[in-house]
Symmetry: C2
Subunit: 247 residues, 2 copies
DNA sequence: CGCCAAGTTGAACGTGCTCAAGGGCTGTGG
DNA sequence: CCACAGCCCTTGAGCACGTTCAACTTGGCG
């Protein structure tokens, strides 16, 4: 894990070239360039934010995948969602100065670092960017809504299928998946902790999905030979807009 | 249901007098006054927003309680959360122009009406207010996080207890509850749809909570004779900041 | 080779679901 | 004033999805 001064310049941010992201104008770009105070590289498994610990920084994901999670008194853990390129990490920290979840890297990841104290200057100086922040927050809300619907109404089989459909869709649009291959090292216990299903039952249910050729796994990576079939058994219809703003 | 021109003036908004809400300065107040284009009064049970129907308006709750919900293909329904005074109704509509849930009044309610097309002017003209919007969105996220944790990790008993603790806490701080009495006509099927538990099992579990004197019900209204006991069996620790911004 | 983490599989159990019947309350109409 | 409908809640009994406990397999890595 290391922090370095902007090795990736915002002016040439590789994310902007991806189809999913909207362009910024020159003024915005220059502001973001100055707003970004550095970069954080983390290894897989390392924590970026910890529950109840207020850090001075807020991040956006430049590369890699992380997950937000919370641990209860009894030690059980709930994964809230996955953070992919373009996502904001620690928005609650920036807004309320408190955070009630941890954020851990699932893959090696690269994050852009911002000072949360200066976050307000983004609102006062660049309404377009402030609007983007809120856009991203509202989009997150939609994702959390989806998760609540899954946990509340679907059984293990549908839940896992829907989980994959959702994750794949987001991963594909942020360059972390393509051609049916999900380039994220998801283990059964992640699915277990994300969906509130025991690892044992995750295993059984996954095997059923494998037998039905909805899901495949090799070297620890999942793939989906027939994405339409996946969407169908998952009853998944994608709610996400095709393009999105970026800080 | 009727729309009338601002019978409640923002300058004398009754919500601001409540302890939970922050003050606005004169410039902000004047802007909000102009930004608000009217008021919407709805009866209990009537819908304010419908899934997939883009309306031109966005709202804030002035009085009463509503709930956001989504209906699946098979007809099952999930309540996502409850909207109480000060909450924004239809933020996703304002940001993305799409909405994937319905909003229905639980009690008779009064809403402030805003044009979603003009929402951007709030960002460009009043960064402090824009910041408030994002603050509210981030707070919502925390609430949804809590719900996900409940649905994923807790059994029916803990879920219901936590649900009440959470709802009461929010209701209390927005003036919809006091002295242990929750002034919202919640039926068993609401709990069922919010927590993914069948009405039958909700009934059984509620009776257990009643027997233990954690919960009481009279005339269809819940009350909690011992809020500390409730928080304890719910393993609830309140994540909400004591004061909050308001549009 | 041996270790450890992750996944698999079996068997028994339990929380919560389903189906079904009955009771209480409220509003409406005879 | 009673009859009846409709909604909500309650209670019982059987069932099933998912859990728990435990043993075994597999694969990566020292």
């Amino acid at each position: 894990m290391a922090t370095s001064k902007s090795s990736v310049d915002c002016l040439h941010c590789p994310l902007r070239r991806k189809k999913a992201f909207r362009e910024l104008n020159d003024g915005e770009l220059q502001f973001v360039s100055k707003f970004k105070i550095g970069e954080l590289d983390v290894d897989a498994q390392s924590s970026v934010l910890m529950e109840k610990q207020a850090t001075p920084n807020v991040y956006t994901v430049l590369e890699g995948v992380l997950y937000r999670h919370r641990t209860l008194q009894d030690g059980s853990r709930q994964i809230l969602n996955f953070s992919m390129p373009g996502d904001i990490v620690g928005l609650q920290l920036a807004m309320m100065g408190e955070i009630h979840h941890s954020v851990t890297a699932l893959t090696p990841a690269k994050l852009c670092v911002f000072e949360r104290n200066k976050f307000y200057s983004l609102f006062s100086g660049h309404p377009e960017l402030a609007h983007s922040v809120t856009w991203i927050a509202a989009t997150q809300e939609t994702l959390l809504d989806n998760t609540i619907v899954s946990l509340g109404q679907r059984n293990a089989y549908q839940r896992i299928a829907h989980f994959f459909a959702q994750v794949y869709s987001r991963a594909e649009s942020t360059g972390v998946a393509s051609d049916g291959l999900l380039n994220i090292p998801i283990r059964n216990h992640h699915i277990s902790e994300a969906l509130g299903i025991t690892p044992v039952h995750v295993s059984r249910t996954l095997n059923k999905l494998k037998r039905e050729s909805v899901v495949e796994r090799s070297n620890g990576y999942f793939s989906f030979p027939d994405l339409e079939k996946l969407a169908e058994v998952a009853a998944f219809d994608d709610h996400m807009p095709p393009t999105r703003p970026l800080l």
